[in-house]
């Protein structure tokens, strides 16, 4: 059902050398038979209905001369133009009316502000009128942003649904009041194998949204009112498109609820598990088995497992055992990879240059670049010069790898740092979300990707 390869970054490790790293690439690719299945999908849309969702963000509004006071904020009355909630409603309507969903795709809708409620429980996508009236109901709310309450409702809707491609899609425009609960709930989503797609617009907390998507193996998007540039940035007018894509992607996730079990011998420790293709996600290693998301039918899904390895004498020895379990929702089967031994040979005299697998190292590097960007945003306020330097390094490495979208996100940030000596909240979001964007596949020779001349042309050096 699932082709699995494990590739260590090097075949031999030096004996008697402390504090070594071993990277193992775990590559998953469903077999043809499984790839051709079409899982049912089960979606929970969590929509922020706080007062700020009524802000006009698109179109050409005309002032009416009246002012309103909502949630302690003053608003100028306008006609024409589109509010955030308008666009969300329009997007969901387009999805319902698209005709691309059938009765095996189920949708539920949860709103949250000070409170949360289920506007419609899991309903086949073919029940259009029922869904339509629930979507229209989104306009009847306002208040604060208690996202955790909404997540908790969504979890109860999805958690007992098995053998289906589940997903929670959160749309928010504010700082959640109950961040701690949100983070705890993310862990439960992960354990249940439900990826979260987090869409943020305006003053949301990007660290929280990235946490939700990282831990659950989902993804996060930065929604902007203007035209989008860079990775994982989406213009709000393209919201219908991105929501539709998420549903399509869920349909392609022929393997889901992947969990990884890793045991190591003494002196070996699993340090990090990162999905490095098709996009980046950093999983938490708090409790075995580790939930690591889903796998697409038509492409590889690749993870890098980073191990710390203590000094060992010359030997060929098992250092770890990996096991995987997963669902094949399209066939309603549960699969298991019997525990695989990771055997490493420790030999003398490998302290000089050793040959390594360039594909594995390529993914390790992409992972590291994302981390560099994260570090840069952290020091941006206290040390803009250092941040600029880190971003420059990240940008130029990105150019070499050929990740155009991510490069664009970095360009803007660097410009801003250079001019203003700090990163605005919006740019910070762009950069952070961008660093967790799509990665570049490494299996073809890097050297063939871009000639040095092309690289120079791109990087302007």
């Amino acid at each position: 059902m699932l082709n699995i390869t494990l590739t260590p970054h090097r075949e031999f490790l030096p004996a008697d050398s402390p504090a070594q790293k071993l990277f193992i690439m775990l590559k998953l690719r469903p077999t043809k038979e499984v790839a051709n299945t079409r899982p049912s999908t089960t979606f929970a849309f969590l929509i922020d209905t706080s007062g700020s969702m009524y802000e006009v963000v698109a179109g050409e509004p005309q002032p009416t001369g009246q002012t309103f006071r909502v949630d302690d904020r003053d608003y100028m009355g306008v006609t024409g133009g589109e509010t955030k909630i308008d666009i969300v409603i329009k997007s969901l309507q387009e999805l319902i009316w698209s005709g691309k969903l059938n009765e095996s795709d189920r949708i539920s809708l949860v709103q949250f502000d000070d409170q949360a409620s289920t506007l419609v429980g899991l309903t086949p996508a073919t029940e259009i009128s029922q869904l339509q009236s629930a979507v229209d109901g989104l306009r009847n709310f306002s208040g604060g942003t208690c996202m955790g309450k909404g997540m908790s409702l969504a979890l109860s809707l999805l958690s007992n649904q098995n053998m289906t491609s589940r997903r929670a899609l959160i749309f928010t425009d504010g700082e959640a009041f109950d961040e701690v609960e949100c983070r705890e709930l993310a862990q439960k989503f992960a354990q249940n194998g439900i990826p979260i797609t987090a869409l943020g617009v305006g003053d949301y907390n990007e660290d929280l949204l990235l946490y939700l998507s990282d831990k659950t193996g989902g993804c996060a998007f930065h929604i902007v009112p203007e035209n989008a540039t860079g990775a994982n940035q989406v213009s709000i007018t393209d919201l219908p498109k991105i929501i539709f894509e998420q549903v399509k992607e869920a349909q392609k996730e022929v393997i889901n609820n992947l969990t990884l079990n890793v045991r190591t011998v003494e002196g070996v420790k699993l340090n990090r598990v990162t999905r490095v293709y098709p996009n980046l996600a950093e999983f938490s290693l708090t409790q075995q088995p580790y939930p690591i998301g889903a796998a697409l039918g038509d492409d590889d899904t690749i993870f890098i497992l980073e191990f710390d390895v203590d000094s060992r004498a010359t030997s060929r020895v098992r250092i770890a055992q990996l096991g995987l379990t997963y669902d094949v929702p399209g066939q309603k089967r549960r699969g298991e990879l019997t525990p695989q031994n990771v055997v490493v040979q420790f030999i003398v005299g490998q302290n000089g240059a050793a040959q390594v697998d360039q594909e594995v190292m390529g993914y390790v590097q992409q992972r590291n670049i994302a981390q560099l960007v994260g570090d840069a945003t952290k020091v941006a306020d206290s040390n803009p010069q250092e941040a600029e330097r880190l971003l420059e390094t990240a940008r130029r490495l990105t150019v070499k790898i050929g990740n155009k979208a991510m490069e664009e996100s970095l360009n803007d940030a660097q410009d801003e740092l250079r001019k203003t000596r700090k990163l605005s909240a919006g740019t910070r979001k762009t950069v952070k979300m961008g660093s967790k964007g799509k990665t570049v596949k490494m299996d073809d020779d890097l050297n063939d990707r871009l000639s040095d001349e092309q690289i120079r042309a791109i990087s302007g050096t």
Binding site: N261, S315, R316, E336, N341, N351, G352, A353, Q365
Partner: protein, 636 residues
């Protein structure tokens, strides 16, 4: 090149030449070219495709029983060793490369074949019982077995997906998940050993063998790096490596990694292994990681100069951090905040290859940095005191003194201490000594000041100038003039008259000036003794002074050559220079001075204590004491 035929035909017939396989392992003997070789130890696969052995060898021609240690390397015919041969051809005889004694291609070589299959089985049995014990007790067997696994295949294809990846076919991987086979109770997996991997070596057993001398262990760069050294020494090593690397690069080769255990420290450094040099633009078929390898090498790149710069930077990093750069730090390295070293490392270790220095520029910067590190930082402490004294005949202090300090550049500073004791009636002496000090304080420092000769001439010119001014201004008056001039740690003196210049070093006092007085002359000619001179009535009569003659003849002004052969002496940390008029030394003996300065905590209180003693002893003359103490620190 010598081929197997030749080896076979040689007079020395060592065991396995009867067979077709040449087996290379510990204790085995065979011939390479005109050398008989016995393997002492296997060193490992130090370069990805080359096996390294320590051997004993002797030449057929040489006296029997003169055995030398050698380095034997075995690798595939088209691999790294072959590349090294090409490079050696390009370099010719080059002082930084250890000579190759012999090289040969052998048709069929077995590297460390297992002694016997049964031993391997024994070893597996034993290790199950007591893993640690087997490691210690069964070393030889490990040695024999481990090496099979890396039977060399030099086409840079050691990583071969089919061998290395664990392909799991769909059929046997899928099971309905009912029970987990892993044991959840223990925290760790059980240790499980496997027979060390054997890679079939059918492809080519043909090997290239290279023999050279073995670097003396206690002089290798690896051994050297284990100890702490001065910044200057670290830079000197990096400079030599950079020099070597640049030399190679001028010939289109890039030295992208180092094997410190095969580099001998000496004059110059000597490289025993060149397998880490590649032709510029050569493309690698597999990634490389190593302590000195640029990070982009891990994803297999075309060889570039920037990788060679990186290797030099990585060595410098290791020097200043006492450990090699770990691969997970390579994207954003943390560097000790040492000015210049910080910038050098940051730029040469940049993850962006284009940012790194070209080798020639790096070399220049390293040399410049070392020169700056060589410069010693000198700081001066100054203390002085002067008294009119208690004589009823004198109501003016005719002594004058001054200190001049100037920073000429970042690394050069200058200090001048001056004491002048004037003489003559009607306060003329005061004017004379003032003119002398003023002249020395105010004369601008010339541009050309580097050479000691020039500085000495400049001092004499100043004395001439002071002399002329005094002669023009003062009637019946004159002055002594004593000055010290220290440029960095080089000290010079210029002196006329009977004031004195002392150097106190580690408690010992030495007089650097001569007394230009009548009594001194009488002592020198034996007319009176040293003791008698102290009480001699004419002890104030001078034989030399400024202002008495229009021009000063050659040698009139005394310099250090009268005492030390050389124009200048090198100061040491803590040295104290004293300049005083005869009012001081008349009443305080040399030993007393040394004692006061040794036992008093601050320089100023020592000066004050001396002047106090002068007063207590009666102070029949003006007394002036100027003290300068230097502290010298070398950078780091």
């Amino acid at each position: 090149m010598q081929d197997l035929e030749e080896v076979k035909n040689s007079e020395f017939r060592i065991q396995n030449l009867d067979r077709t396989d040449l087996s290379i392992k510990e204790k085995e003997c065979f011939c390479i070219g005109e050398f008989q070789v016995e393997v002492v130890a296997y060193l490992g696969l130090l370069t990805a495709d080359v096996h390294y052995f320590k051997v004993k060898f002797q030449s057929f021609d040489s006296e029997p029983n003169i055995e030398q240690l050698g380095l034997l390397r075995a690798g595939s015919v088209g691999g790294s060793l072959n590349r090294e041969l090409k490079l050696r051809e390009t370099l010719g005889e080059y002082g930084m490369v250890a000579k190759l004694l012999a090289h040969t291609t052998v048709e069929s070589v077995l590297i460390n074949p297992p002694s016997a299959l049964s031993e391997l089985e024994n070893y597996q049995e034993e290790q199950k019982q007591e893993a640690t014990e087997f490691i210690i007790s069964d070393r030889e067997v490990i040695g024999a077995t481990r090496l099979n696994s890396v039977d060399i295949d030099t086409n840079a294809e050691i990583i071969e997906k089919t061998v290395q990846n664990y392909q799991i076919t769909p059929d046997n991987s899928d099971k309905i998940c009912e029970n987990n086979t892993t044991d959840e109770h223990s925290e760790y997996l059980e240790e499980e050993y496997y027979p060390e991997k054997e890679i079939s070596s059918d492809e080519s057993r043909q090997k290239l063998l290279l023999l050279s001398d073995f670097p003396a262990e206690n002089t290798t760069l690896a051994t050297w790096l284990e100890k702490k050294h001065s910044s200057e020494e670290y830079l000197s090593i990096a400079i030599q490596v950079c020099q070597f690397s640049s030399y190679l690069y001028q010939r289109q080769w890039c030295f992208i990694d180092l094997l410190p255990q095969l580099i001998e420290i000496g004059k110059p450094l000597k490289f025993f292994d060149l397998t880490t040099a590649y032709l510029v633009d050569e493309s690698l078929s597999s990634g490389l990681v190593g302590d000195y390898c640029a990070p982009e090498l891990s994803a297999a790149h075309h060889i570039q100069e920037s990788m060679a710069s990186y290797a030099v930077g990585a060595l410098l990093y290791q020097c200043f951090n006492q450990q090699p750069l770990l691969s997970n730090q390579k994207l954003d390295i943390k560097i000790e905040p040492i000015p210049r070293i910080y910038q050098l490392l940051k730029i040469s270790l940049s993850p962006i290859p284009e940012e790194r220095f070209p080798l020639s520029q790096l070399l220049g910067l390293l040399v410049e940095t070392r020169n700056l590190f060589r410069v010693k930082k000198i700081q001066w402490q100054v203390a002085s005191n002067s008294t009119l004294g208690l004589s009823t005949n004198r109501l003016t202090n005719e002594d004058n003194y001054g200190v001049r300090q100037q920073q000429l550049s970042d690394s050069k500073n200058l200090i001048m201490g001056i004491v002048a004791d004037g003489m003559g009636g009607m306060a003329q002496g005061e004017v004379a000594s003032k003119i002398a000090v003023k002249t020395l304080l105010e004369e601008p420092i010339p541009q050309e000041f580097q050479e000691e000769e020039l500085r000495a001439n400049w001092l004499i010119e100043l004395f001439q100038k002071a002399n002329e001014s005094i002669a023009n201004t003062v009637k019946d008056g004159g002055t002594t003039l004593s000055t010290v001039l220290a440029m960095c740690d080089r000290l010079m003196v210029a002196h006329v008259g009977d004031s004195r210049i002392y150097l106190i070093r580690k408690g010992e006092i030495a007089q650097l000036s001569e007394d230009h007085s009548l009594v001194a002359m009488m002592v020198a000619s034996g007319q009176i003794t040293q003791e008698e001179s102290l009480e001699h009535p004419d002890r104030n009569v001078l034989t030399k002074s400024l202002g008495s003659k229009r021009t000063l003849s050659d040698g009139y002004v005394q310099d250090l050559r009268r005492i030390k052969q050389e124009l200048a002496l090198t100061l040491e940390d803590g040295d104290i220079l004293l300049l005083c008029s005869d009012g001081v030394w008349d009443l305080v003996s040399n030993n007393e001075l040394a004692q006061i300065f040794a036992n008093t905590s601050s320089l100023q209180s020592a000066v004050d204590a001396t002047i106090n003693q002068v007063l207590h002893e009666g102070a029949s003359d003006n007394a002036t004491l100027l003290a300068l103490q230097c502290s010298i620190e070398t950078a780091n």
